[in-house]
């Protein structure tokens, strides 16, 4: 918190929304309803009114189940998708309405690591080519030896053996590929890294290797992470703060320790209780009724009300807003607000 730039939050999302149109083209919007032809557009509400901000140096974990919009948030921030509404500010500057060329400078600051190491490396490029390409592209003035040195330095720092350089991705295991993918993201010296489920495709012993690598990179380079995951045990270990998403809306946002010690939102509680524990012999988790509704027709009111044991009339009509709690966490739940959860 010394220089000028740190006056700003590194990332701010303001009322971010993303809707995907299901019916593209005029003909698909035409439907028969009760014998009459009407025009109707169906949309998937992937992200609904999400606002949050991130400080430099923190690791914010975004958790939720499939379809909760966590990957969409990551892609919006990375600029792979355009928001339908709302704003994304990076370092005090609005970035969601910039063109590709205006974004080029930012690309060096913000990088992304993907879930599937089998698909995130171009199968027809050797490791050397894959690592050199971004360095060349972003530093056109750098000479041949400069590029080489840079690539070698990055390889060394993430434990990629230089003898791998001439080989192709398919010759490596998942963990090694993820290492290479991380190396590639780090070649441009980013300060902010979005990691979209970077370890969920890997084996347990390899997960630990990759997590350690990311933690080391954080310490050495002062990285800020946005970490997307469904695995709560990883969150507890990796994140400084956690945001729980359900159907594209924020349920709870809290410091990691606070969230794991005293989860408040009924959904967070259910989620935590569902993690299989090593020691505890009896599986006793909070059973949720039903399943996640489709994000096409969002339920009115609280998105979670259809599965919540505490839902009352108000929950069905009024969408709860995130409220600050005494311990600093933000919780969007009427029942917490009215203090009728204690059971």
């Amino acid at each position: 918190m010394k220089d000028m730039a740190s006056d700003h939050k590194i990332l701010e999302l303001k009322n971010l929304e993303k809707r995907f149109e299901l019916d593209k083209g005029f003909l698909e919007t035409l439907k028969l309803r009760g014998g009459r032809l009407v025009r109707e557009k169906r949309e998937v509400h992937a992200v609904n009114n999400v606002s949050l901000s991130m400080e430099r140096g923190e690791a914010l974990c975004v958790v939720g189940e499939s379809g909760c919009g966590k990957s969409t948030v990551a892609r919006l921030v990375a600029g792979l998708l355009e928001p339908s509404a709302g704003e994304i500010h990076y370092d005090g500057e609005r970035i969601d309405n910039k063109s590709r060329h205006e974004m080029l400078g930012l690309r060096k600051k913000m990088q992304m690591i993907f879930q599937n190491p089998y698909a995130s490396l171009n199968p027809r490029m050797t490791i050397q080519q894959a690592l050199e390409e971004p360095v060349r592209y972003h530093n056109p003035g750098l000479g041949r030896s400069g590029v080489k040195d840079k690539v070698e330095a990055v390889m060394k720092s993430v434990g990629v053996d230089p003898s791998w350089a001439a080989r192709y991705p398919h010759e490596f295991s998942g963990g090694q590929r993820q290492r290479i993918a991380i190396a590639r993201a780090l070649t441009v010296d980013p300060e902010f890294v979005i990691a979209d489920e970077p370890i969920s495709a890997l084996d347990v012993s390899i997960q630990a290797q990759v997590l350690n690598l990311m933690l080391e990179a954080k310490d050495e380079r002062g990285l800020t992470y946005m970490f997307i995951t469904h695995d709560l045990s990883v969150v507890q270990h990796f994140g400084t703060r956690v945001v729980v998403l359900y159907l594209g809306s924020i349920c709870e946002l809290a410091d990691t320790a606070t969230l794991f010690e005293s989860p408040k939102h009924p959904y967070t509680k259910a989620l935590l209780s569902a993690v299989p524990q090593l020691q505890d012999d009896k599986p006793s988790h909070i059973r949720l009724k039903g399943e996640i509704p489709t994000p096409i027709n969002l339920p009115t009111g609280c998105p979670f009300h259809s599965r919540c044991a505490f839902a009352d009339k108000r929950c069905m009509v009024e969408k709860p807003r995130p409220m600050q709690q005494p311990d600093g966490s933000l919780v969007a739940c009427h029942a917490v607000e009215e203090d009728r959860l204690d059971t």
Binding site: S205, A208, P276, L278
Partner: protein
């Protein structure tokens, strides 16, 4: 007599230049109604074990030697026709991905009736009655309506329930579940696991649960096999293995879990990767990654031997155990 008795089972894959060994002299037993977990990372041979038990291996894989006695009969020696009377009937399998296990062009009812009629002489109406009973057992709401629905109309969790219902249709004595919840969300996973556990207990069905998740094994099974590079390296009661693992690999697996380390600190990782099937080292397959390995480990293969309440394949298990107890008392 045990329900399933596997002795010295070896499975090989005929690759173009060489034949690689995917399963190496595996032996284990399963009592009636017992729940057994097979844990390991990808490439350890746990899924191949499942397929071998169902005699479902296809080219280039084949059972090279050994026997699988299911209620006294050797599955390895059976003809395909004999095997069909067992498969799906007395022994059922649940696969990983509920999105692809059901045939998308047939309704749930058609698939269930077909399965029943393949093994028993039943009219369509009778078969449907049984199907409805089974769907109710897996807590599917309004099962009568579900019979007419197609798989794509149902969510992942619902489909996996239906797959379990189909597996249970013919009251099998053994269910082999290969990563049944890996493709599902945590809350759904917990539901499905609870359901599977409840059904196995109430119907006295044996369960072989193949998974990479130690947490799931810990909650679901009575006994566990830990596999590494095509071999069983530790076997015993699940509690024992989770609480006091003897093999360095099992210890490593458990210690690598984020829960085992304080937040923010480095995880205790196992260095390196599992060897490929074509490059399994001589001696102990885990030796190159093992911090306790001595010269002996790199030359001689350790046998699976009884140690205390468990079986372990490690030369140095005595020494390791003693140092650990010293550490703890110190």
């Amino acid at each position: 007599m045990s329900l399933l008795s596997v002795r010295d089972l070896s499975v090989k894959f005929a690759m173009r230049d060489q034949t690689v060994t995917a399963l190496n002299h595996i032996s284990f037993d399963l009592a009636k109604g017992e729940r057994l977990g097979i844990v390991g990372e990808s490439g350890a041979g746990k899924s191949i074990t499942g397929f071998a038990l169902m005699n479902l291996l296809s080219r280039p894989g084949f059972i090279d030697s050994g026997s699988i006695h299911f209620e006294g009969e050797d599955i390895v020696q059976m003809s395909e026709a004999q095997m069909r009377t067992i498969r799906g009937n007395r022994m059922a399998m649940i696969f990983q991905d509920p999105m692809v296990t059901l045939n998308p062009v047939l309704t749930i009812g058609q698939q269930m009736v077909e399965t029943l009629q393949a093994h028993r002489k039943l009219s369509k109406a009778e078969a449907e009655q049984i199907a409805i009973v089974k769907l109710r057992e897996v807590y599917i709401p309004s099962p009568e309506e579900r019979l007419g629905q197609y798989p794509h109309e149902l969510s992942g969790g619902m489909r996996q329930r239906i797959i379990i219902a189909i597996a249970l249709l013919l009251d099998p004595e053994l269910i082999i579940a290969d990563e049944p919840t890996t493709a599902l969300d945590v809350t759904i996973q917990a539901d499905i696991m609870e359901l599977l556990l409840e059904l196995c207990q109430s119907n006295k069905v044996g369960l072989i649960l193949i998974t990479h998740d130690l947490g799931v094994v810990s909650q679901m099974t009575e006994r566990t096999l830990v596999m590494y590079a095509g071999r069983i390296i530790e076997a015993g009661r699940t509690r024992e293995i989770i609480n006091d693992p003897q093999h360095p690999y099992t210890q490593g697996l458990i210690n690598a879990l984020p829960q085992q380390t304080l937040p923010g600190q480095r995880l205790k990782q196992i260095p390196g990767n599992m060897p490929g099937l074509d490059a399994v080292p001589v001696g102990c397959p885990f030796a190159p990654r093992c911090q306790f390995a001595v010269d002996h480990c790199r030359t001689t293969l350790p046998e699976l031997v009884r140690y205390g309440d468990v079986e372990v394949a490690c030369h140095e298990v005595n020494r390791l155990h003693e140092t650990r107890t010293e550490d703890q008392s110190a």
